[in-house]
Amino acid sequence: MIYFDNAATSFPKPVAVIEAVVAALKAPASPGRSGHTPSLEASRTVHRARKAVTKIFGLSDNSRLVFTPNVSWAINAALSGLGLERGDHVLSGALEHNSTARPLARLVKEIGLDWEVVPPRDGAMVASDFAARLRPQTKLVVLNHASNVSGALAPALEIKEVVGEIPLLLDAAQTAGAIPMTDYGSKIDLLAFTGHKGLQGPTGTGGLWVRPGLELRPLAVGGSGSRSESLEHPDFLPDALETGTANTHGLAGLAAGVEWVLATGVEAIRAREEQLTTNFLEKVAGIDGIQLFGPGLGGGQRVSTVSFNLSGWSSSDLAAALEKNYGIMARAGLHCAPLTHQHLGTFPGGSVRFSFGPQNTVSEVIIAADALNELALARRN
């Protein structure tokens, strides 16, 4: 199998991740709930994950890093917790995933939020376009750090600089572990991430960084292991936003995944994925009938996700042929990002997406490029 769907979930997971999850499953897991030794060990496991993620984002206070089941939950926790009201103005990028677009659309419908989408230029977000749209009513800026369709990387730190004190909620689903981010913790107000993509952990893991000074109303309240005597949910982080027993087994794997990323080096991962992406774009550029979306060779910042269509093929048929004939796993369709496809002009048919990971090889990329060439010829003849 050639696995090019790392934007959906990374594969294969590092061996250390598998071993960490198995080890955690072999022990009682009730972090922060009891005074006995296995409970303490479970707490240490969760804490190890917290420290690892704190390091990769350069966060100043690990107690303000909240674990959630996934990045969608983290984004919802931020959007619903900020206390946005009717008439409040929120800016977002145009390349948002449904994990952001749907909660924003719901707030528009339910509370009368004024949500404005900043259009892209040549498929990319531009900081000055955010600055130009700020109003006195602007309460939040939301940004997908990298498109899960085209791979276009948004200038998040530049955008934060131009929006000033207005909080920026960054969706780092496609960038955490894939690009160096140790300088983000000191600048980004709300940073939502998933654990099972670039951070190499299991599904069911993710989280949200909440910068000091920002308070969020919890999306859910309940058990926390702290202040058991009170019927009021704790108001301190991370407990305030971590309701119910933590996913200790998953977080054991996340800790190992992030430690693997840190040991491998985010810069080294970035360089490898850039090489794979460049090789792919160079190899397929000459294929008759291929249409590539997103930043091209030497054309703007990107991550290792590429989208394309091939004339004569629907995106779903092409992805199916890639799997059936060549064992290549790709994702076809709209990728939970209809807004992005509208901007790319690929709505509703979608595109085929390859997303390379640190364990892919150049030879796999060459096999895939040759496969696309053959499939292009097959439909032309």
Binding site: L40, H47, S226, R227, E229, F236
Partner: protein, 86 residues
Amino acid sequence: MDVAEIILVFSSNTKILNAEDLLEEKNLPFILVPVPKEVNPNCGLAISFLESDRDLILPVLEAADLMPAAAYRRAGDLFSVWPLVH
């Protein structure tokens, strides 16, 4: 005479684990114990050390902004509130 033990109770599990990391890193004498039910109904952990080690432990926690929410002195079965500031 019994040696008095000091029990530090923190507001969150994360804080106590950060305190554990810090005190371990500095090789200071302490242990983690279940929070005594005599002083606090919570189900978490506390840091315990000998009263005579006060000046080793507290300045380190204070410098790291990891002061406990409450502190207690235990002598045998007797617990009393222990002032964090002299």
